[in-house]
């Protein structure tokens, strides 16, 4: 008989066991009667001789092989029955556990995809990126034409080498307005190198991209769907890219790594066919290699290192030597990894805390449940059940609970992953990942163990004769089980406090950040970008003429107060403009840097910023030598603390040349909280007829700025019908968008803090209800002795307040852990802001009091007579 048939024939086996033992007893009794005993005495003797029938049966069951499985199924049935008897408890427990597990898994999926991306390219583990790094250090930079060709022809470590270069295209196709597109010029083998195949049409052939071959292009799937409505007629269609005719031959899918969805069009580009202006010394190529089978990254690295003196061009900035390096592609695909990983770790810690609270909560409920079952377990021990058997039963009983919660958690995590990825702009990577499954299972199992441990511990030390004896009276709680419950609730409250405090700190920091204006009125400022490309705009004069004429057209539009062309637009901009000399001071390395923007003469009028000293730009200043600039007060203070900066010269480094600028005015310093700089930043605005190759129109309007877009388009169209405008936005939108990450984080954290608060309320309510039930007799005695209901209620409420106060240091620790992950987002607040601490603690106390009120009230209404009668 194998274990399976034993399991299936369980009932029959039980009957047989019973029959066998009965036969033995009868036979023995018959013998004794035959020897002269009375029937009663004979049966008693036989029974004594055999031993207690239930204990013998239990031992016989143990002797059977499949015992564990039988028990498992029995306990599972029992567990499910218990859950069905207690639907309220079941629903609360399953929901809160699902939430905890689901949120954890969702955040972990995103975290996993972000920090350890799994690229879907062919043998992605063998893909490396080749970068050039100057000996003096610095960030990895792209390769030049010559370097790419050397790597392609001379390096043996790679099976195949491919390259890509970011390009800007002006697309005109007669379908709708001309459009500015970001795309890639790629070596013809690039897509097949990655193992990406077109969803429609074909890949490039290796000859394409050479000079003289026909111009062909491949579109991204997203762009094809949005601009051409996914029509198959796109194949063979002729479009104009940068004034050249191209034939569309294929459509490829986007991915979150090298073919991101902001890349709209791909054209074949051979290294030697790059535009003349971008050849030799310009570093435009992202170069990728596929390692030969079995070759390590280090081996390829040493070959590159050895060949670097011959292959690498010199560093154009300083003329210092460069070396080529290999980096696994996996490590290069996310630029913003450091920042997002910090946020994700913050999220992960938060949801980890929430899961912990959930576990403690369910543990508390189970513990209370198990404590009231002490008598049942003590009885079973007395009837011959082993203690491990009971421990196992407790574990198995909570299994249906945890299984349901795991299932719910899975569902929630699928939804949650999408929500986090979409709302929060994380890269959408593959959702199903074995690692995530492992994590979820681990979370579920850990939850199960955590949930069971406390009650099991309680029962194992409590299932003794004392519990049996106590049966006469209501089973009182021992001091120890009291303390355990209190400790669990304390942990819970502490963690919730930590979450509340950190959410509060984040919200406050966001408020501080958005409160201060960037130094000008942000309302009604429209932005639109144009990009100079092609033969027509190779000269600065042509560009200046276009800008001047377009600004003239825009200025007369109804509803326009002022307009300018600027790059970068305020309040964005990096502090990266090096100052070589300022007045009589000369600076060595490292040079001081300030924030810089170039603008046409209408800039300050458009912003409505007054010039405090000196004068504003005038159109006559354009093209004069030296160039004219206006600085803010912060910069004036930094370089000329005691003398007037007006008329002084500043020199900077521009294209390797020293360029002088003359300060003609000083404006007030705007606050720059958006970039989380606690100090106001120095800024210089340089007058320029052509601020950059891709400058922004910035227009101050009377009313809702975006309504002006069609008129603006028309105005620019009047000047040059083929010059596209793109990226319409308002300064206000941009600021909101810039702080959206912070806002989303604050919202998510607040949401989790809310969940934690709700869980704590549930936990406190459940625990106190249980305590109240157990203290019924005591309260009955108190009331009989003259205590008023108010005193009983106060007893419970004081306990609640005490719990919160004791949990306070724990809350500080939790909030310290959480705020460590958001140091970059904290602006002007610390992790233990007194106001926030006090208000959250009060908030928590009131929540706990609210939760305690119900049980306390019920307990104070106890009828002393009935409570004492139960004694």
């Amino acid at each position: 008989m194998n274990w399976w048939s034993r399991l299936v024939r369980r009932k029959q086996l039980e009957e047989e066991l019973d029959k066998e033992l009965r036969f033995h007893l009868d036979q023995h009794a018959d013998d004794l009667i035959a020897h002269g005993s009375t029937p009663n005495e004979a049966r008693r003797q036989a029974r004594l001789y055999l031993g207690g029938p239930e204990q013998v049966k239990e031992k016989c069951r143990d002797a059977r092989g499949a015992r564990w499985l039988e028990d498992l199924i029995q306990d599972l049935r029992y567990g499910i029955r218990t859950l069905r008897l207690n639907p309220g408890f079941a629903i609360v427990a399953v929901l809160s556990l699902s939430l905890g597990i689901g949120a954890n898994t969702a955040v972990f999926s995103v975290l996993c995809g972000e920090l350890f991306p799994k690229l879907s390219y062919r043998d992605s583990g063998t893909l490396v990126k080749i970068v050039g790094i100057a000996d003096s250090g610095g960030t990895p930079v792209r390769l030049s034409d010559a370097e790419f060709r050397s790597v392609q022809s001379s390096v043996d470590s790679f099976d195949e080498v491919a390259s890509a270069s970011i390009q800007i295209f002006h697309l005109t196709d007669g379908v709708s307005e001309p459009e500015r597109l970001v795309g890639l010029g790629i070596s013809p083998n690039f897509l097949s190198f990655l193992g990406v195949s077109p969803v429609l049409g074909r890949d490039f052939s290796l000859e394409e991209g050479r000079p003289g071959s026909e111009n062909v292009a491949i579109l991204s799937e997203g762009f094809w769907r949005s601009r051409y409505a996914g029509s198959r007629a796109i194949l063979g269609r002729r479009v104009t890219l940068n004034e050249q005719p191209y034939t569309v031959v294929g459509v490829v899918p986007s991915d979150p790594w090298l073919l991101r969805d902001n890349l709209r069009v791909y054209v074949p580009l051979a290294a030697d066919a790059a535009p003349a202006s971008q050849s030799r010394s310009s570093f435009i190529w992202d170069v990728y290699g596929r390692l030969q089978r079995g070759l390590s990254v280090t081996a390829a690295q040493s070959e590159l290192e050895a060949g670097s003196p011959r292959w690498a061009s010199s560093d154009p900035e300083s003329n210092r030597a460069r070396r080529l390096h290999t980096v696994p592609v996996v490590e290069t695909v996310f630029v913003d990894r450091a920042e997002s990983s910090e946020r994700l770790l913050l999220l992960q810690t938060t949801v980890g805390f929430v899961l912990l609270i959930t576990c403690i909560n369910v543990g508390c409920l189970l513990l209370a449940h198990a404590t009231s079952r002490r008598y049942e377990f003590a009885l079973r021990v007395a009837l011959g059940a082993g203690r491990t058997r009971i421990l196992r039963q407790l574990m198995t009983e909570s299994a249906p609970l945890v299984a349901l919660a795991g299932l719910g958690g899975m569902l929630l995590s699928f939804l949650g992953t999408r929500v986090i990825a979409n709302v929060w702009g994380f890269h959408q990577t593959t959702f199903f990942d074995a690692r995530v499954l492992v994590f979820t299972s681990a979370a579920v199992i850990a939850t199960a163990i955590l949930c069971c441990l406390a009650p099991a511990y309680r029962v194992l030390e409590g299932a003794d004769e004392a519990a049996l004896k106590e049966r006469g009276r209501a089973v009182g709680m021992t001091r120890r089980s009291h303390r355990l419950l209190d400790a669990l609730v304390l942990c819970e409250i502490g963690i919730a406090l930590g979450l509340l405090v950190s959410a509060g700190v984040l919200v406050k920091s966001l408020g501080l950040r958005l409160q201060t204006t960037p130094g000008f009125a942000t309302a009604n400022l429209l932005l639109a970008r144009t990009h100079f490309l092609g033969e027509k705009y190779t000269t600065a004069e042509a560009r200046a003429r276009f800008i001047r004429r377009a600004l003239d057209e825009v200025a007369v539009l109804p509803g326009v107060r002022a307009a300018t062309v600027v790059d970068p637009y305020p309040p964005s901009g990096e502090q990266a403009f090096p100052i070589l000399t300022a007045g009589s001071q000369t600076f060595g390395e490292p040079r001081p840097t300030v924030r810089h923007r170039s603008a046409t003469s209408g800039y300050f009028r458009t912003l409505s910023v007054k010039v405090l000293r000196g004068r504003d730009f005038s159109p006559r200043d354009e093209g004069t030598e030296p160039g004219k600039a206006i600085i803010n007060e912060a910069m004036a203070r930094r370089f000329w603390s005691d003398v007037s900066p007006i008329g002084r010269l500043i020199t900077t480094n521009r294209d390797g040349q020293v360029a002088p600028l003359q300060v003609i005015g000083v404006v007030a310093t705007g606050d720059n909280n958006l970039a989380y700089h606690p100090e106001p930043q120095a800024e210089i605005v340089e007058l320029s007829a052509v601020p950059s190759e891709a400058p922004w129109f910035m227009i101050r309007t009377d009313a809702e700025p975006l309504q002006l877009v069609p008129m603006l388009r028309q105005a620019v169209h009047n000047v040059d019908p083929n010059q596209p405008l793109a990226a319409f936005r308002t300064v206000e939108n941009w600021i909101a968008q810039e702080s959206s990450g912070h806002r989303a984080l604050a919202e998510v954290l607040a949401a989790f803090a809310g969940i934690a608060l709700a869980l704590v309320a549930i936990g406190v309510y459940g625990t106190l209800s249980h305590v109240a039930a157990l203290r019924r007799n005591e309260v009955g005695v108190r009331i009989a002795l003259g205590a008023r209901p108010g005193m009983i209620v106060r007893l419970f409420l004081m306990k609640g307040i005490r719990l919160v106060l004791i949990a306070f240091p724990l809350g500080l620790v939790a909030s310290w852990i959480l705020t460590r992950w958001m140091s970059a987002l904290l602006f002007g607040v610390g992790f233990a802001e007194p106001k926030i601490l006090v208000s959250t603690t009060l908030f928590l106390i009131s929540t706990v009091l609210l939760a305690a009120l119900g049980p306390a009230w019920r307990c104070s209404r106890v009828d002393p007579a009935s409570a004492l009668r139960a004694e």
């Binding site: 036969f23 033995h24 004594l48 055999l50 031992k59 002797a63 092989g65």
Partner: protein, 115 residues
């Protein structure tokens, strides 16, 4: 029943049961009787351990069992040795023999302390 009963050394119950069943098949009550009679009442199976032992031996494949009618016409579970059980009995009996001989030899040491 005699009043002077010896407690069984640990682990010998299985061996005794195997031996008692060897002439089988017998039902549980008969096995208990045979053990007691063969030892002239000295050995009594500890209370409550006969049936767990029988089931354990059955589970290990040393015993097999069938339900059969007794002389009195009642149905009872009859145990008998399997081939594996017989082999086990032989080896265990042999090693027991060796052990008891060795123990007797030691106890009979000629230094006169114990007679």
């Amino acid at each position: 029943m005699t009043s002077s009963k010896s407690s069984l050394p640990q682990g010998t119950l299985d061996l005794l049961i195997l031996r008692a069943v060897a002439a089988g098949p017998f039902h549980g009550y008969a096995i208990a009787q045979r053990l007691e009679q063969a030892s002239r009442g000295v050995v009594q199976v500890p209370e409550g351990s006969l049936y767990p032992a029988l089931h354990r031996l059955e589970n290990r494949g040393l015993l097999a069992a069938d339900w059969k009618k007794t002389e009195t016409g009642r149905e009872a579970k009859f145990y008998r040795l399997t081939r594996k059980g017989r082999k086990q009995l032989e080896t265990e009996a042999e090693s027991w023999q060796r052990l008891t001989e060795a123990v007797s030899l030691i106890l009979a040491m000629a230094d006169g302390r114990v007679k």
